[in-house]
């Protein structure tokens, strides 16, 4: 009988989306899944894993260890380990960029800036203050207010020759400002481009972005224009790993693999 190789799973229950990543013992991604987090984190952790397992063509009994992360990490009842999303993002990014980097993660409600050393060690980190300006929630709110589809925003911004400046810090005030522009007939593409620029400005003022900068999170995964804009702001090319939205789940899976060999 052929022995089946073990699999390791990372589950990242974020404020907006739940992610599952399955890797093998070599750290290669076998499958991944993304679902809306909703309100029942225990249920979504089960369903997102089931989807990833189905995609992998595999069964639950091959899973050797699971690490949960994200705001809902305590709700993942089948997790063997729990770690914060700071650690998991650091781990996931270092997997692709084994060098000193500054990680800029723009998530649904949180932005994180994590400074990593050459061995992937966390030197320090910053999270956004108690304000969702500059996060995915900000973009979602703008899309909702303007009755636009989220998936159309990046294309609209890229196609626009104009760009407006969004002056407000606050999401609610920004919405008011944008609705005022729309009322005055400002081209919508320029407004959306300004919204993305605002996101980049908010994240740039959180901490010093030095050395090589790598972006992760759902916002850059779906809106590559923010990578370009951050690169323009910093005057250098910004790295983005494969699958930037599931990098925290990947890090969690890598930790599951390490801890199941050498539990701490």
């Amino acid at each position: 009988m052929v022995e089946m190789k073990p699999l390791f799973v990372g589950i990242d229950i974020g404020s907006t989306t739940a992610k599952a990543v399955i890797i093998d013992a070599e750290g290669v991604i076998i499958a991944q899944a993304i679902q809306r987090s909703g309100y029942d984190f225990a249920a979504v952790s089960e369903s997102v894993l089931a989807e990833a397992l189905e995609s992998a063509g595999s069964k639950r009994d091959r899973v050797a260890a699971v690490t949960s992360t994200g705001y809902g990490r305590r709700n993942v009842e089948f997790a063997d380990f729990q770690r914060t999303e700071i650690l998991c993002h650091a781990k996931g990014v270092h997997h692709y960029f084994p060098e000193p980097v500054t990680v800029v993660d723009i998530g649904g409600q949180d932005n994180k800036i994590i400074h990593l050393g050459a061995q992937g060690e966390r030197l320090n980190f910053t999270m956004n203050r108690k304000c969702a300006a500059g996060t995915g929630a900000f973009i979602e709110e703008i899309a909702y207010r303007l009755d636009l589809k989220l998936e159309d925003l990046n294309g609209m911004a890229e196609a626009s020759a104009t760009e407006v400046a969004i002056g407000s810090f606050c999401t609610v005030f920004s919405c008011t400002e944008i609705l005022g522009m729309a009322r005055r007939g400002t081209p919508i593409g320029g407004i959306i481009k300004g919204v993305f620029r605002s996101v980049v400005k908010r994240v740039s003022e959180m901490d010093a972005l030095d050395g090589k900068v790598v972006m992760t999170g759902g916002v850059v995964a779906h809106n590559p224009i923010v990578r370009v804009m951050l690169g323009e702001a910093l005057g250098c090319e910004v790295g983005v790993p494969p699958h930037p939205q599931v990098i925290g789940a990947l890090g969690a899976a890598l930790i599951a693999g390490e801890l199941s060999v050498d539990p701490v």
Binding site: Y71, T84, E85, R122, N124, F125, T126, K130
Partner: protein
């Protein structure tokens, strides 16, 4: 879940604080002795030497915060023009008054309200908000209100600083006498300063016992046990209390008792407590096997300059030497001294939304200190009393990630 260790002396503190509030209540009801309100680092010794019993409304505001009544009260003060952006002690306390509420009535049978004073006395060494706070009550009750206008951003405390504040204190005493008839007893002043200094020395010894590894004391314990140092300094009661507490803590050290079982990390807390989350945060750090060994906040009631042989000048110096009054160079050096004493692994800065003077993370100080010493830090966004400014989930994630970082 690990259990928070309780000091036996905590039972004594309940009695000491109950006696304090009943003494004030009795004074209000009988009209004798007169009652003064005083800010928490105001001239309490001077007021005692003038014959007053002294009430500290910041203590009342902290009780509002710790009992989570503050958020029911703050909106009432907001509604009369006191912004949600200003001191939430002020808005909690005035809001509670406007609603006719005090937690003292729940805790102490027979106390119906906060005590109406004969005089209100502030020192702006902490902030301007205390002056606004007391002046509101002065208008409400038509009670005289006096204060000391302190210096801010002080580097070295000079003779000029001391002379200025000492002169203000002498004028303050004269103004209070003129307004209330209470007379200064210079011998009583010396004795009060002596007792206050003794209390301060004992409180310092209590806090520095956390230099032991493992520490028998946490920041959370400190916030509870500081009650007598705030409200009863200058009395024998406070001296007796800290002698008892110190004896118990030394016993714990001798037995190797740790406040946090399996202490793995030692952290310095910079900023105000989040009063409404004391228990939850104490439990969080206990679970992380991390001891908050020291804080600027609890240290604020150490007044090593007090000298009974030179009461006026030494009071002036003591209330100007405070951390909160000083410039950032002093503060940076202060952290270095704390690092030498307590040997901590990291600092948590609490950025209290409504208390800028106790939020020392807004002018690059954490970054400068960290760069110079290699001590890592994080900043927690919150508030002393207004829990609307606190995102608990985000704070927990930051703290846990910080401990993961320290784990390496």
């Amino acid at each position: 879940m690990a259990e928070i260790k309780k000091l036996e002396t905590a039972k004594l503190m309940k009695k000491v604080m109950a006696d304090h509030f009943y003494e004030i209540d009795a004074a209000v009801k009988s009209g004798n002795p007169k009652v003064a309100w005083c800010t928490s680092v105001g001239p309490a010794e001077l007021l005692r030497a003038l014959g007053f019993v002294v009430y500290f409304p910041e203590n009342h505001a902290a009780i509002l915060g710790a009992s989570r009544a503050a958020n029911d009260c703050i909106p009432a003060a907001n509604a009369i023009g006191y912004s949600p952006e200003i001191c939430s002690y002020l808005t909690s306390d005035i809001g509670a008054y406007l609603k006719g509420f005090t937690p003292l009535s729940k805790i102490y049978d027979g106390i119906e309200s906060i005590p109406k004073p004969d005089v209100l006395v502030y020192n702006t060494n902490q902030c301007r908000d205390v002056k606004d706070w007391f002046e509101w009550y002065a208008r409400e009750w038509k009670v005289p209100c006096f204060g000391i206008e302190s210096f801010v951003n002080v580097g070295a405390v000079t003779k000029d600083h001391v002379d200025s504040i000492a002169a203000q204190m002498r004028k303050l005493a004269a103004d209070i006498t003129a307004a209330t008839g209470s007379k200064m007893d210079e011998d009583l002043l010396k004795d009060t300063v002596r007792l206050s200094r003794k209390c301060s020395d004992l409180w310092k010894d209590v806090l520095e016992i956390a230099a032991n590894k493992p520490s028998p004391l946490t920041f959370f314990d400190g916030t509870i046990h500081m009650g007598p140092a705030v409200c009863l300094r200058g009395t024998q009661v406070a001296v007796d209390y800290y002698e008892t507490l110190l004896k118990e803590l030394r016993g714990w050290v001798a037995q190797g008792v740790a406040a946090v079982a399996g202490e793995r990390h030692r952290i310095y807390w910079e900023g105000m407590p989040i009063w409404g989350k004391l228990r939850e945060n104490a439990q969080l750090f206990l679970g992380l096997q991390t001891c908050l060994v020291a804080s600027t906040y609890c240290n604020s009631w150490i007044f090593t300059a007090l000298d009974p042989d030179d009461p006026w000048n030494s009071m002036a110096r003591a209330y100007t030497e405070l951390f909160i009054v000083r410039d950032d160079d002093f503060k940076e050096d202060y952290y270095r001294r704390m690092l030498d004493i307590f040997d901590f692994d990291g600092i948590i800065f609490h950025d209290a939304k409504t208390c800028p003077n106790n939020s020392n993370c807004r002018y690059g100080l954490p970054q400068r200190f960290s760069k110079e010493t290699g001590i890592p830090f994080i900043t927690i966004d919150g508030d002393l009393n207004d829990l609307r400014c606190y995102s608990e989930e985000q704070a927990i994630t930051k703290i846990e990630a910080f401990i993961e970082q320290l784990d390496g």
